[in-house]
């Protein structure tokens, strides 16, 4: 059972990394750290994609990973610009203090 690496191993690792990323989103209060956790969740999904591309002998998984990386780059640029703007007005990036819309 443990002599060869199968797709299950990669899916398991992917789930672990995704869970750690999700816990980062839930546990941390620093918006930048939350953002980094989201990046890690995207990465775990990418790992599953590439592993399945290898498993099925199909390049489509790699193409999809390529697109995910591109979109993540755009998302990071906009997100960090938003964080900088929020910091300029509120002098904090703790998400507990972003409660202006709270009724």
């Amino acid at each position: 059972m443990f002599s060869t690496v199968t797709i299950d191993w990669y899916v398991a690792l992917s789930v672990l990394l995704f869970t750690i990323g999700a816990m980062g989103v839930l546990m941390r209060r620093n918006a930048i750290i939350i953002f980094m956790s989201v990046e890690m969740m995207l990465n775990s999904a990418n790992l599953a994609f590439v592993a399945f591309a290898r498993h099925l002998g199909d390049l489509d998984g790699q193409v999809l990973t390529f697109f995910v990386i591109t979109v993540a780059a755009a998302e990071v640029a906009v997100g960090l610009a938003l964080i900088v703007t929020i910091f300029r007005t509120k002098h904090s990036i703790s998400i507990d203090e972003l409660n202006v819309l709270k009724g």
Partner: protein, 176 residues
């Protein structure tokens, strides 16, 4: 799909660096742990016969994106804001519980459902940058062009957001 020992070593590094990112009090350390995590995943991509994606991972993720993160952290001086200590106990417990449930569901599914199943394809797929580029421009031209538009929109958005207004001094006064 690679040597089990190699997989285990890399998996330990990946999970360890992910936990390091999660638990570091200093945001700079978190970012550096995340770089290590990304590089480890790039090595996984190499093992998985995806050399081009591995290089993109290193240049775009570990290079560009993480430099942007470090730049913003240092620009804002946000190293120590909102550390783990700022989290209330019940929030920590809820997060841990949800994480445990997620992993448990997965383990149950893997054990009861006998895993993903299916045999690995024996055929060697050409995954050179040439093959990937051909696939990208033959089957996925439209999404590819769309990402170009998306990047343009993101760039314009960042410029608009990052612009400081001429009356910035006035805005700061009204804040105080």
């Amino acid at each position: 799909m690679g040597n089990p020992i190699l997989f285990l070593i890399l998996a330990v590094i990946a999970v360890g660096s992910a936990l390091g990112m999660l638990l570091s009090r200093n945001a700079i350390y978190s970012a550096l742990f995340l770089v290590l995590n990304f590089v480890t995943i790039a090595v996984f991509y190499l093992v998985l016969n995806a050399p081009f994606i591995a290089m993109v991972q290193i240049t775009v993720y570990a290079g560009a994106i993480m430099v942007l993160f470090l730049f913003v952290i240092m620009l804002l001086g946000a190293e120590r804001l909102g550390g783990v200590g700022a989290v209330r106990d019940w929030e920590w417990a809820t997060a841990a519980l949800l994480g445990a449930v997620l992993v448990l569901v997965f383990i149950l599914e893997m054990v009861l459902g006998k895993g993903v199943g299916g045999t690995e394809t024996a055929v060697f797929v050409d995954s050179s940058p040439t093959a990937l580029g051909l696939r990208l421009f033959e089957a996925y031209v439209f999404p590819f062009e769309l990402t170009g538009v998306l990047l343009l929109i993101a760039m314009i958005g960042v410029v608009v957001l990052g612009r400081t207004k001429k009356r910035g001094k006035h805005v700061q006064h009204s804040n105080n």
